[in-house]
């Protein structure tokens, strides 16, 4: 796959989605060759797998534009996004299905780049692609490429994640800087030149999640990754789901200076900007500093921070103390801040 693969076409044609010879050629030369493993090699309509534990399943379609961006592309994103959703359930991701909807005219070289990026991200995340599908739609009926991945993971034997366990004074920790993914896409899309380069934070979070579960087991009460809608929307959802309040301090939320500056320049609230390498966890006050320490010692949690706590005051509301000491209610995102961010 290092060299350009010759499938006899420079762009994808409708025939590549026909189910006939062209489809078989595309699959054999690119997909099966790249992802070869005993499951996929069956080349059947489906794949047969075995699990020892309960399984977490999650699905996501990726429609991001542009398809290549600083810090990743739609391929790596489609792996990280679903791997992380499975991990957020308290599971160890093992397998992914992979389905493409390609717009006629996509450059074959771009398709190969995306497939290679999927392979790399899957290898790094420790998951196998076990079954897939490829469809092609006419020019103007899609947008280059959409990808669906569905992920399967074995539940971590110590995991007992449940919002029922969340109590007053429990502590909310995030692992990393927020708003990077959304601002990277924004700058790529709009051709904005910020002083420094903002890169998407798209990455896999499953190893850090596993380490946390290995160490703290059922003392971890929740994992959640604030992707679309951002941290603000997810905190609001949590407050709603647990019928308790959430209190956060603006100055405690980790954000890179250049990202904060870019948000300010564009009039965007970083609380609603999408993330792809961020998750939050809720744990009891007693173990919070230990959890924080473990996260900071991990490559995916170096900038972890305690951002707030759960309270019985203002149930179902998120209240944020601002940098100048004022308090405001954080509402959920209404409408669309940045369409097609993932």
């Amino acid at each position: 796959m290092e060299k350009i693969v010759d499938i006899g076409f420079e762009t994808i044609h409708l025939g590549h989605g026909s189910g006939g010879e062209l489809t078989r050629n595309l699959l054999d030369k690119i997909i099966f060759k790249t992802f070869s493993n005993p499951f996929l090699d069956q080349k059947h309509d489906g794949s047969i797998v075995e699990f020892n534990e309960k399984i977490a399943i999650s699905t996501d379609s990726f429609v991001i534009t542009p398809i290549f961006f600083k810090g990743g592309d739609i391929g790596s994103l489609a792996v990280h996004g679903t791997v992380n959703d499975v991990a957020m359930c308290g599971a160890i991701p093992k397998y992914l299905s992979l389905a493409f909807i390609i717009e006629e005219g996509l450059k074959v070289s771009d398709f190969i780049k995306i497939v290679q990026s999927i392979k790399k991200a899957a290898d790094e995340s420790g998951v196998l692609i076990i079954t897939g599908d490829t469809k092609v739609v006419e020019r103007g009926k899609g947008d280059k490429i959409f990808i669906n991945t569905t992920g399967f993971g074995e539940m971590h034997s110590k995991a007992n994640i449940s919002i029922q366990n969340i109590l007053e004074n429990d502590v909310i920790i995030v692992n990393s800087f927020i708003a990077q993914h959304g601002m990277a896409i924004m700058s790529d899309r709009e051709g904005l030149e910020f002083e420094t380069t903002i890169k998407s934070d798209s990455t896999n979070l499953n190893y850090l999640v596993k380490d946390l579960l290995d160490e703290f087991g059922n003392n971890i009460k929740m994992f959640r990754d604030p992707t679309r809608g951002g941290l603000g929307t997810v905190l609001h959802e949590i407050a709603n789901d647990i019928s308790k309040g959430v209190f956060i301090k603006e100055t405690d939320i980790p954000i890179e200076k250049q990202v904060a500056a870019a948000c300010e320049m564009l009039g965007l609230d970083p609380l609603y900007v999408a993330n792809e390498g961020v998750f939050l966890t809720i744990v009891s006050k007693e173990i919070a500093s230990e959890v924080l320490q473990l996260m900071r010692n991990h490559s995916k949690g170096k900038n972890a921070a305690i951002i707030g706590f759960v309270t019985n005051n203002h149930p179902k509301k998120v209240v944020m103390e601002s940098s100048i000491g004022g308090k405001r209610i954080v509402s959920p995102l209404v409408g669309e801040q940045l369409p097609r961010i993932c």
Copy 2:
């Protein structure tokens, strides 16, 4: 769901894919309300399930146009297609994930119709929708709605489907009339008026497959559904995979008269026209008539027929004896006969 659900909009907006309040509203009022079950009701990023047996997994994206057609719609098709792919592995389908990519401007009433159709087809097929995703793309960047379903089924305890088991003289049986789905779509799409109405054969095949496995167990050597690419392409793939020849008789292939006439009129070879309610099975000669009998007694196999056999002559080739006695090689479909047929 019988009455029109009011989500405050007549068409889908980009904000419905934001992950914010509009998304939540759409999900709560339409998706969660329709599919409510203990798995989905967790409203988490994923769902946790348990299986007793090995699992078969299959994924498919559906991009059919038009989205409503005689005999079904993109919603029922997205259920049947994946349920059948899981069944073809020798498994009992249990769960589906469900992911929408909606083009901005889709009528909410059409979306609701599709969701209801998914619900009905899922109920009839005995599967639960356990997790999902909804994305919205701008007008002109999609085509009304694309759906991905990924299906999970428990392997039937008696199933031992493997092409390794296929021997010379094994018999090939199909369950029903071919070419109906493709010709139904064709007539809808082109506004063709055939003398009588051709309906898509889109339906679930999992119950008939289960009955066959209950009765004949590991004597069933293969199931395969010839969807895209049609019967001809699938037979060619099988011949290739088993490195043996396949011999079929044109007059033995079940096809409705009006479908055959429509194909002739449009110059289409029914062997390459898509099916959605057809599967073929390969069994030893000794049990072929029993298998045929069981199929004919089942609502999904009334028109079952033995269409040919496996031979050591002409390995990797499919040879068909035509209605007038001549013989021709059936090549796989090259290019695209009917784009976006599923």
